[in-house]
């Protein structure tokens, strides 16, 4: 039997595992709630006008502005990916399930990649539903779906790949799944944020930072962010500069892809070396 056949088996059963866990449905519920709430509040409170977005932008790019708000909420699902991936490798050692799984004629690379694919598919399923609801709302309220939503989904999926890779890297090094989950969240939400913001304040464009590259999921709609949001953000030119720093989507896609591949490689390498002591 080829390793590819084994990869399909590992992915299938790992996916079944994900779908059996309560956390999958928890992340799905929170993501959908965030999307539905955003749709309701955006429309009910007429948010762009109250936020001071120029009327000309609202008239010209109403659907795109709505899409930016709604799809960025759907991307909450990406953080859910951390909970799927954090314990993927570590739990085999921590909970000793590796004593059953590893003494089988299957390469650890296959096991890690299969687990990775399962986490990605679970995250993509939630993201897909969130984007589908967003697209449906766009059709209902604006009778159109901006083409940029597909680019946004592509960036969101790539951001999910990156986050899962980072969680896998931590999971293959750290002793426990909880530690890997927390380390991933802290690194993504705090460490990256500090570095990116500091660089932006110092007038460097942090295009190479994964969190900023991820922000590009709102930059696929062809809207000039300075024009649309610059005025509403306090802090004058610095904040305006940060808004402008929403990235080039194509570049961001490849930045995230690069990080995802490297970190997955690190995870595979570490898992292969790790011993069941």
């Amino acid at each position: 039997m080829s390793e590819f056949e084994k990869l399909k088996i590992v992915t299938r059963y790992e996916l079944l595992k994900q779908f059996r866990r309560k956390r999958f449905y928890g992340v799905l519920a929170i993501s959908l709630l965030a999307v539905v709430l955003t749709i309701g509040l955006y429309q009910g409170l007429d948010l762009p006008r109250r936020m001071g977005v120029p009327q000309s932008t609202i008239n010209q790019h109403g659907a795109e502005l709505f899409a930016i708000f709604v799809t960025s909420m759907g991307s909450l699902a990406i953080l859910g990916a951390v909970f799927f991936a954090g314990d993927a490798v570590a739990s085999e050692f921590e909970r000793k399930t590796g004593y059953i799984l590893f003494p089988n004629p299957v390469k650890r690379t296959t096991l890690v990649v299969g687990k990775y694919l399962a986490c990605f598919i679970a995250t993509a399923a939630i993201l897909g539903v969130a984007y589908l609801i967003s697209a449906s709302a766009l059709l209902v309220f604006y009778s159109q779906v901006p083409i940029g939503i597909f680019g946004s989904l592509a960036i969101a999926l790539m951001l999910a790949c990156f986050v899962i890779s980072m969680a896998f890297a931590f999971s293959s090094v750290l002793k426990g799944g909880m530690g890997a989950t927390i380390a991933t969240l802290l690194t993504y939400m705090i460490i990256f944020s500090i570095v990116s913001s500091s660089l932006a304040y110092a007038d460097f464009n942090p295009w190479f930072m994964p969190d900023r590259a991820g922000d590009a999921m709102t930059a696929t709609y062809g809207i000039d962010f300075r024009e649309a949001f610059g005025g509403m953000m306090g802090g004058g030119p610095v904040m305006s500069g940060m808004a402008q720093a929403s990235q080039n989507p194509t570049l961001s896609f490849f930045v995230l892809l690069g990080y995802a591949v490297i970190l997955l490689g690190v995870s595979i390498w570490m898992t292969k070396r790790r011993e069941m002591i």
């Binding site: 595992k17 059996r20 059953i100 590893f102 003494p103 089988n104 004629p105």
Partner: protein, 240 residues
């Protein structure tokens, strides 16, 4: 008889602690060998090394002539294992768990279904095949671990404290399963239970402080030391 397992000058350090010291051992086809020794003697380390779960500090291991370090997947393809206190994915049922592991070993379709039913019945879990493992006791998990070790009808069984957690009935049933299996299989099995070992195995390896102290037939051991217990106490410096 063909040498199925060959361990040659195997040593293993854990952060500077020597757990296994230049161990050499050969197990021939259809032999059943018990690894005996006190806690920390190196029994589990030996078995984990053989299954490719640890990397040796020095030395080599071959299963069916295949180097375990160089070609782990091929070396263990004919091995069924039961190591430590086994844990399973709690969200799966035994049927699903065995389906997963069987497919990874190239089994499929009706043959796999039939074999799953067979081993589930063999270990007495017929009524539990479709119940999630999160509801299982330690003894039930131990039975399932034995089922997965036997699933692909392997030529070799590597078992570490296989009767741990079983109730007296479970231990008797386990012994009968192993006795039946050993007619066709090579068995390497680590245990603390001397009576269990005496009933199942006809060859004994006694390890202490990572070193092999004795390796021979049970009959020769009894001739030399009068009983397995005396041999164990003497060879492990009274540590029991």
């Amino acid at each position: 008889m063909k040498e199925i397992i060959v361990i040659d000058g195997l040593s293993k350090y854990y952060n500077g602690f020597l757990a296994l010291d230049n161990l050499s051992l050969k197990v021939r086809e259809n032999e059943d060998v018990a690894l005996l020794g006190p806690n920390g003697a190196g029994k589990s380390t030996t078995l984990k090394l053989l299954c490719g779960l640890l990397y040796p500090s020095s030395g080599s291991m071959y299963i069916n002539g295949v180097d375990v370090v160089e070609e782990r997947e091929r070396a263990i393809s004919e091995v069924g294992t039961m190591l430590e206190t086994p844990e399973f994915y709690p969200f799966f049922t035994p049927d699903e768990t065995l389906g997963y592991l069987g497919r990874l070993r190239g089994m499929h379709g009706r043959e796999l279904e039939r074999r799953i039913r067979e081993v589930i019945k063999l270990v007495g879990l017929e009524k539990w095949g479709k119940v999630r493992i999160e509801k299982f006791s330690r003894g039930m998990k131990q039975r399932l671990a034995l089922a997965q070790a036997l699933l692909h009808d392997p030529q070799i069984l590597i078992l570490d404290e296989p009767s741990l957690g079983l109730d007296p009935r479970g231990m008797v049933e386990f012994r009968e399963i192993i006795k039946k299996a050993k007619k066709k299989k090579t068995i390497l099995f680590a245990s603390h239970l001397l009576t269990e070992v005496a009933k199942i195995c006809n060859k004994v390896a006694i390890i202490d402080h990572g070193k092999l102290r004795f390796y021979d037939d049970m009959s020769r051991l009894k001739k030399k030391y009068r009983s397995l217990e005396r041999a164990y106490l003497k060879l492990t410096e009274g540590e029991i």
